[in-house]
């Protein structure tokens, strides 16, 4: 009700002629997920700097708790209460765009700013060839490795995405590592994580094998033919071989790699600082294995959108433009360890610039080794079904039927939504 009162007051003040009062700054409401405390502190500092540097726009930040973030935002969207600038997790952008809640960003940001943004970021933020979202950082996956333990089994060290290990090479390495391991579990797949991780981390393997979660080449997305096709089956079979063969550490304490229990950790950019500290010079950052069509890695992270209901899209865009300045991008990337979303910033990053230890992740994003999670309103549902399928994979259920069932369930949902055709 306080909000209602606020609206009433705002409306009242609009009625007074503009010259009667001194020009009040325009309030721009910004929603952000209350994730890592470090990110939050940086964004607060950036908003304060932006507010201090000019007096026509005033940014007011609201932090919405993660966990139910998308559900909260979805309900607010239905209630017609979205802010001026809204933070969304990348794969949800298509849903909001399909529902008509988002404003296209073209025309709101200068072309030179857009051109500097990594192709992966623009890719993830687009739906139906229209750009709706831009992040200030991107993400990526790597196979972190302990150089000494790889040397002890004479493993070949890939130098870049082009010569990633093939699956049979990895099988071979795992077998030899296991022979020298106390409990036989030599690989970490972050089984301690929950939910979206499994789609983010393993959907690229389907693509690498020539399959995928969803086929979005047609107007109507479809899981049949993609998720239950030969490629996806091959990838899932390999994953199941590792999962049920005792190669994978359950990693309940999230310390499998740092404590030396495993030699390989399949994880995201966020683990780099910790791993670097634990292994120092022994840490290798390798591309994920090649399942047949070249390595593929995940991408996409939290990203900014401007809701259609915003009365101040230009002002919101000018704050977004500020956040995309190299200094701001670098500051945020330093706080969360992610890949800076603009080329200018990335080239200045201690972690990702050419020659730096994580440069391979930047290359994956720039040169097309990274695949966005399917950009369709069908994604959130498909992802939750994929997570269940991964669970079944872990339990050793037969790959063929479980993928077929998953594809059928997803296609049922797509049919229920009339193919998610554009309204």
């Amino acid at each position: 009700m306080a909000a209602g009162l606020g609206l009433a007051l705002a409306a009242a003040s609009c009625d007074t002629p503009p010259d009667a009062t001194s020009r009040a700054p325009i309030d721009v409401e910004v929603w952000y997920h209350a994730g890592q405390p470090g990110e939050r502190a940086v964004l607060e500092a950036q908003a304060a700097r932006f507010n201090g540097a000019q007096d026509s726009i005033r940014i007011s930040l609201a932090f919405l708790p993660e966990g139910s973030y998308n559900a909260q935002v979805q309900a607010s969207a239905v209630a017609g209460q979205l802010p001026d600038l809204l933070d969304l997790d990348g794969p949800y952008v298509a849903t909001y765009a399909w529902q008509g809640h988002l404003r296209p960003l073209h025309g709101l940001l200068p072309e030179n700013v857009l051109a500097d943004v990594l192709p992966s970021v623009r890719n993830q933020g687009s739906w139906n060839d229209t750009l709706y979202a831009l992040g200030t950082f991107d993400s990526g996956l790597a196979l972190y490795a302990d150089a000494e333990r790889l040397a002890s089994v004479d493993a070949r060290i890939p130098q870049g995405p082009e010569d990633a290990w093939t699956v049979s090479e990895l099988d071979d390495v795992l077998g030899r590592l296991r022979a020298r391991d106390a409990d036989g579990a030599v690989l970490d797949l972050k089984l301690n994580y929950e939910g979206e991780w499994f789609t983010y981390a393993f959907q690229p393997t389907l693509r690498s094998a020539g399959g995928g979660l969803l086929d979005t080449s047609d107007d109507t997305p479809a899981a049949s033919g993609a998720l239950d096709g030969d490629g996806s089956r091959r990838a899932a079979t390999a994953l199941q071989r590792w999962l049920t063969g005792g190669f994978v550490d359950p990693n309940l304490d999230d310390a499998a790699f740092t404590s030396g229990r495993v030699a390989l950790s399949w994880s995201g950019h966020w683990d780099f600082p910790r791993y670097r500290e634990a292994l120092a010079e022994r840490l290798l950052v390798l591309p994920l294995p090649d399942f047949g069509q070249g390595t593929r890695t995940g991408q996409g992270s939290w990203t900014w959108t401007i809701p259609r209901t915003s009365g101040h899209p230009r002002e919101a865009a000018s704050f977004l433009r500020f956040l995309l300045e190299p200094e701001q991008v670098l500051e945020m990337a330093a706080a969360n360890g992610a890949v800076p979303a603009t080329r200018t910033a990335a080239m200045r990053s201690e972690t990702y610039r050419p020659g730096a230890p994580m440069h391979v992740l930047l290359r994956q994003l720039e040169d097309g080794w990274a695949v966005p999670r399917p950009r369709t309103p069908a994604y959130p549902f498909a992802s939750s079904i994929f997570q269940d399928a991964f669970d079944a994979l872990r339990n050793g259920e037969p790959v063929g039927p479980l993928l077929r069932d998953a594809a059928r369930t997803i296609d049922g949902e797509i049919r229920d939504n009339h193919g998610f055709r554009r309204p």
Binding site: S68, N70, A71, Q74, A75, A77, V78, W98, Q99, G100, E194, G195, L252, D253, P380, F381, S384, D391, N395, D416, N417, H418, P423
Partner: protein, 320 residues
Amino acid sequence: MNAFAPSPAPRPDPDPGPGPAEKVAPCPGRSARSRRRISFTGLSMAAPALAGLGLFVAAPFLLAVGLSFTDLRLGSPLPVSWVGFEQYMRVLSSTTFRHAFLNNLYFTAVVVPLQTGLALAAALLLDRGLRGTAAARVALLLPIVFPMALIAVVWELLYAPGPDGPLNALLGALTFGAWVPRDFLRDPALAMPAIIGLSIWQGMGFQMVILSAGLQAIPRQLHDAAALDGASALHRFRHVTLPGLRRPLILVAVITAILSFRLFDQIRILTRGGPQERTTTVMYEAVTAAFDRQQVALSAAMSVVFFLVVLFISLTGRRR
């Protein structure tokens, strides 16, 4: 409704049947005009609460029934259409929903007897009225004022995985190190028992209070007569105490059964239905369908099914 009737010992059995009508006698000697005034006064006194109940309980329930026959989705730009019993077919044929229902049954089958048994034992011990037991009573009752959100996080610490986790450490000490530390909330076999443990911890005091009141309502003469007849303590428990507690026992069993079908908060906070759907529940499925997946119509169908189950339990309890 009698299953829900209070069992306040000092009060005669409230009978909401035809009784009240007779109790309201028309005032003698009043003119028709003033009686009519009184009649509208009565309506105006009842109106706010009745409007509230209508608006926030009855109307949403009717809305749920209506929505369950559509294909409505929250926020979808697509037109809504009637789909008949389609949503119900989906609910009833979904393996996830079947798991949720079975989990509810599992939870109920363990919690109702265990919690009622513990509460009965506690009530009997406290009823001996020994000096100093008031402190024990407070301890056993305290959890009922703890919100479930808070209990969940406290117990999450108790259930922490690894040898440092308090429960793991305790079990390790009790078994002289033979216990292998488990991750209670992520272990498919242990997750539901873990949820049951903290639920009983909270709910037991509530039943204990009702049973205590029931114990005090048993006429002393019955016990005294039995004692004079030379009946043993066990004999008196079986033939005097238990029959005297019949109503409160049925009451707490029915309420606990209904509550167990409402299991949600601790699931949402601690396990989100996992691992492998071992802790998902009917309410959890209904809420995630509507809130996380925007499937409002499907969720409404689940709510209606949920209500029918609750209705069934209440009627079963009432018939006894």
